[in-house]
């Protein structure tokens, strides 16, 4: 699971209103090399919940010097875009779980795949 994906995921347990963002508890993380496409990263940024991304990177110990808030004029800032690229697309959680911040319910991640299926009583 990449952090770009994580940015879209939310807890959907019945009754939960504050299920986003999910907390990440990772036991295995990989960093891959992915071709850097600055335009692509640029276009992704407005679609992100920025603070959720920073928090997630932090939880994985991969935040490095990613700023807590979006820098102005980031479109031309290749340095910044590269940092975002790394965190969004290169860091990958292989094993671990995602935890609902409100209910505590844990959704396992195994072999890179988060299992967001709910039990009957939670749906």
């Amino acid at each position: 699971m990449k952090l770009l994906t994580h940015n879209m995921l939310t807890s959907h347990v019945k009754g939960v209103t504050k299920g986003y963002p999910l907390l990440i508890k990772a036991t295995e993380v990989k960093v891959n090399e992915v071709d850097f496409n600055p335009k692509f990263v640029c276009r992704m940024i407005p679609k992100l919940e920025w603070s959720a991304l920073v928090q997630a990177a932090d939880q994985l110990g991969h935040r490095e010097d990613l700023p807590g808030e979006l820098v102005p004029d980031y479109e031309k800032n290749e340095d910044f875009l590269k940092k975002v690229h790394r965190v969004l697309l290169e860091v990958e959680v292989i094993e671990g779980c995602l935890q609902c911040p409100e209910s505590g319910r844990e959704f396992p991640i195994s072999r890179g795949i988060p299992n967001m299926l709910l039990n009957e009583d939670e749906a």
Binding site: P114, N115, A123
Partner: protein, 409 residues
């Protein structure tokens, strides 16, 4: 009704896909051209979700957009991940994505597996929830009106045909580094959409999702159906099944026309009935052939010398009830066998191949759509979506719709 509906889907959608996933992945790959085009037309930097992505066959199209996929079937999702895609396990009725986060959503051959109208609406509404305003959704569902045959009823069970000619063409726009070697062998890449017309040797490009497509097969399939929509079955616990044989009817509980007031009873009976119905599907005998939309000659040649198969080909143009009555002859002849009919050569139960065993238990439930039904469903029940395109594509009804802003006063 809800529990019965979800149990039906567990038994005749989820568990079937779990069983057939290995064959599914190996065999035929094809991206519907119009779906491919929908993806290619998306502005760069879009985020797209393929809800019910199966083995991820649409997830490689268009490098300029971010794609993610989800499905209930673990083996299929595992395969998609092995191809380098971002995928999750989830249920179409409860999507784990925040509101309005996608620029586009795909639902290709998925919602016809939901067994009630209400669940189909909920599935569409869930997808609409995750779409941003102005975002678009493309939905493909099996059509009741097929090119060479019309299904008599809308709620049907379709047996699975494992493809003995395991071919593994993948249609890819780019070579993407995979996370790991795919479990199945991937021999060649089929070049582009145009190539499927040229492929004659196998039906490797025939997508088994398409009911009119070919399966190079030893036998052809029988379609079973309910005479009422499943909505009413689950409501009233009564069921009239289009079953001509009195031998079969003897085994059914006397369900026709009764309307018990007791809901749990109805539900239990409805479920028991579904179980019994399923058990009647062996031996699955021969009925109308599934034709390859792109390449109709191939599989006729491939069929083994099986009298049942040639019977089916002759019957291809007959209406289904006639096909069923012809099948009764075969049924009566093999009355004492509790499992499948022997193929032409009189094989016994014990010598079934693994594929045959899989096939015997693999009936997928479909609600096939009438013309206009999908668009109507959206127009009347999903006000946040506005239908922009509505067309027929190779045995599917297809709708493209746009998410609109709703103003509540």
């Amino acid at each position: 009704m809800e529990e019965a509906a979800s149990q039906l889907e567990r038994d005749h959608v989820h568990s079937v896909y779990d069983k057939i996933a290995p064959y599914f992945n190996d065999s035929r790959y094809k991206a519907w051209p119009k779906v491919r085009q929908f993806l290619l037309d998306l502005p760069p930097g879009s985020i797209v979700a393929d809800i019910g992505c199966g083995n991820g066959k649409y997830l490689h199209i268009n490098k300029e957009v971010f794609k993610l996929g989800c499905d209930v079937c673990r083996p299929l999702v595992d395969f998609a991940w092995s191809q380098g895609h971002e995928v999750q396990m989830c249920d179409g009725l409860r999507l784990p994505y925040r509101d309005s986060c996608f620029d586009a959503v795909l639902s290709i051959a998925v919602i016809h597996h939901f067994s009630t109208k209400e669940r189909r609406i909920r599935a569409i509404k869930e997808m609409a929830r995750t779409l941003r305003v102005g975002g678009r959704i493309m939905i493909y569902v099996w059509a009741m009106e097929q090119k060479r045959r019309k299904f008599e009823k809308q709620d049907i069970f379709v047996p699975w045909n494992p493809n003995p000619h395991l071919s593994s063409g993948f249609n890819r726009d780019d070579t993407k580094p995979r996370r790991r070697a795919a479990a199945q062998s991937v021999s060649e890449a089929i070049d582009n959409a145009e190539n499927y017309r040229k492929v004659r040797s196998t039906s490797s490009v025939a997508d088994e999702e398409d009911v009119t497509q070919a399966v190079p097969q030893q036998r052809t399939q029988r379609l079973w159906f309910f005479s009422r929509s499943l909505d009413s079955v689950f409501d009233f616990g009564s069921l009239a099944i289009s079953w001509p044989s009195s031998r079969d009817l003897r085994h059914l509980p006397s369900a026709t026309g009764e309307n018990e007031g007791n809901k749990p009873n109805q539900w239990a009976r409805g479920r028991g009935l579904i179980k019994q119905v399923s058990s009647f599907f062996s031996p699955p005998s021969v009925i109308g052939s599934e034709e390859d939309v792109f390449d109709s000659d191939t599989d006729l040649q491939k069929n083994r010398n099986n009298p049942g198969v040639s019977l089916a080909q002759e019957c291809g143009s007959l209406a289904l009830p006639d096909l069923i009555s012809l099948q009764q002859e075969n049924l009566r002849q093999s009355e004492d066998q509790s499992v499948r009919e022997p193929r032409g050569t009189g094989r016994q139960e014990g010598t079934q191949s693994p594929e045959e065993q899989v096939e015997a238990s693999c009936l997928r439930y479909y609600h096939v759509f009438r013309e206009g039904e999908l668009a109507e469903l959206i127009e009347h029940h999903v006000e946040e979506l506005h239908v922009t395109h509505n067309y027929f594509d190779h045995a599917n009804w297809c709708v493209v719709a746009e998410k609109v802003q709703l103003w509540k006063i």
